[in-house]
């Protein structure tokens, strides 16, 4: 894929590849606790079927997975296993953190044996809050992840950049933002602290992780 890593993929092909990638995701369920049951209901039950989104559960191994859905409490004893699992997955890979325990430690925020959020171990793309989140909430998280993938610059992902949206790449190419995210020119009006209304119209650099059902992090 010489076009991808050189960043010379034409826009229609980017759109095609992103669309196909987002509609053929293979999800590895890292189900630890109660959220695993809701994840099972979302993935396995005929009511909240996830396959209609193009997402297939139950890969044979993490090496065949596109993204991992970490659901449930991550304890300090389990954390090395999560890290090892993440390292086993090949790029491009994404992660959804499901439930409050995986987001931030949840109801066990003060426990001596709980990792306060799986994002201390692996980088997360979508946070799905809830205790446990309804299967529909997880499905919304997956839809948002699909939107993120559709909006992704594959060259940036290949390079391993932290921010991979197409808008970012366009802004870098237009000379408004440099590679590290510092604003060079002010042709885009970017306010320091965007309110939820403003965030709809004005793009925010760097893009915040997507939280289901909420606005930007305040």
């Amino acid at each position: 894929m010489g076009l991808v890593d050189k960043g010379r993929l034409p826009a229609p092909l980017t759109k095609l590849f992103n669309m196909s990638r987002s509609y053929s995701l293979w999800v590895y369920q890292w189900g630890l606790a109660c959220c695993a049951i809701e994840m099972g209901a979302a993935f396995g039950s005929p009511r909240y079927d996830v396959m209609r989104l193009g997402v297939i559960p139950l890969p044979a191994s993490p090496r065949q997975a596109d993204f991992v859905c970490v659901s449930g409490t991550v304890t300090d004893k389990m954390a090395p296993a999560v890290k090892r699992l993440w390292e086993q997955m090949p790029e491009p890979k994404y992660a959804i953190s499901m439930g409050s325990c995986a987001n931030c430690g949840g109801p066990y925020w003060d426990s001596y044996s709980v990792t306060k959020g799986v994002d201390q171990i692996i980088p997360i793309d979508v946070y799905v809050p809830g205790c446990p989140p309804r299967p529909e909430a997880l499905l919304e998280g997956i839809v948002l992840l699909q939107q993120r993938i559709k909006n992704e610059d594959m060259a940036a992902k290949w390079r391993g950049d932290e921010f991979t949206t197409l808008q970012r790449t366009r802004a870098v190419d237009a000379g408004e933002v440099d590679r590290d995210g510092e604003l060079i020119s002010a042709t885009h009006s970017v306010s320091e602290d965007p309110t939820p209304d403003e965030a709809q119209t004005k793009p925010v650099y760097p893009p915040q992780p997507i939280i289901v059902g909420g606005g930007p992090i305040e």
């Binding site: 300090d76 004893k77 430690g105 925020w109 003060d110 426990s111 001596y112 044996s113 306060k116």
Partner: protein
């Protein structure tokens, strides 16, 4: 403590439940005939429950006597640390003035003389009765005899008790960590083990004194009266 319901009948599934709870008194007498003065104190709540405290040396003998008396079902074994937590219970607003934390060690039912006590519960399934057995753990050398050869289930419970409280168990076949990773330092369930997340970010107080949104005005004074009584 008074029985829960107004019903004074003692009709249960179990045989021989006499008024005045002869069943439980009979258990104590039976135990006393086997281990004699190892029993330090007892407490019966009639037709409800039974607590017996034994000496540290009589811990294993008491367990053996109970097992011979028909208490073959092993429920659990654990410990209590009676020292009040020096870090408080997080009930009060951290910004408000803190009063002096209580440091007096007061044990519960059947008393005690040491900071930590082990307690275990065994049941007799045919007579539908259970006993909570307690014993002091000596402050200077916190080691007890192991029950694992007596009740096989005590093996795991003693492992957990050891890693949570730091109480050793003599003659235990394999006393290593049950839950915590191998490099964990400290004994978490001791009261002087701090929860670090609470040290860093204390809970902003517990009591919510705002009235509930749908509360009627007439009900509020009645509730205040109930709270005062």
């Amino acid at each position: 403590m008074a029985p829960l319901s107004d019903d004074t009948s003692t009709e249960t599934e179990a045989p021989a439940a006499l008024p005045g709870d002869g069943l439980r008194e009979g258990i104590i007498d039976n135990l006393r005939s086997h281990i004699g003065d190892a029993i330090v104190d007892t407490k019966i709540t009639p037709n409800d429950d039974l607590w017996i405290r034994v000496t540290t040396e009589g811990w294993l003998a008491a367990g053996q006597a109970l097992k011979d008396a028909g208490f073959t079902y092993f429920c659990f074994l654990s410990a209590i640390d009676w020292m009040p937590s020096p870090y408080g219970t997080g009930e009060n607003d951290p910004d408000a003035e803190q009063k002096e934390p209580d440091t007096e060690i007061v044990q519960g039912y059947t008393g005690g003389e040491t900071r930590m006590q082990v307690f275990a519960r065994v049941s007799d399934l045919s007579r539908h009765v259970g006993v909570t057995l307690k014993a002091d753990v000596p402050d200077d050398r916190s080691v007890m005899e192991s029950w694992s050869r007596l009740y096989a289930g005590a093996n795991w419970h003693e492992r957990e008790c050891h890693e949570m409280f730091g109480i050793g168990f003599d003659n235990h076949p394999d006393l290593r960590n049950m839950y915590l990773p191998g490099d964990f330092e400290g004994y978490p369930l001791r009261k002087d083990f701090p929860l670090l997340a609470r040290m860093v970010k204390p809970w902003p107080g517990i009591v919510d004194v705002e009235p509930m949104p749908a509360q009627d005005e007439e009900e509020a004074p009645a509730e205040e009266k109930a709270a005062e009584s």
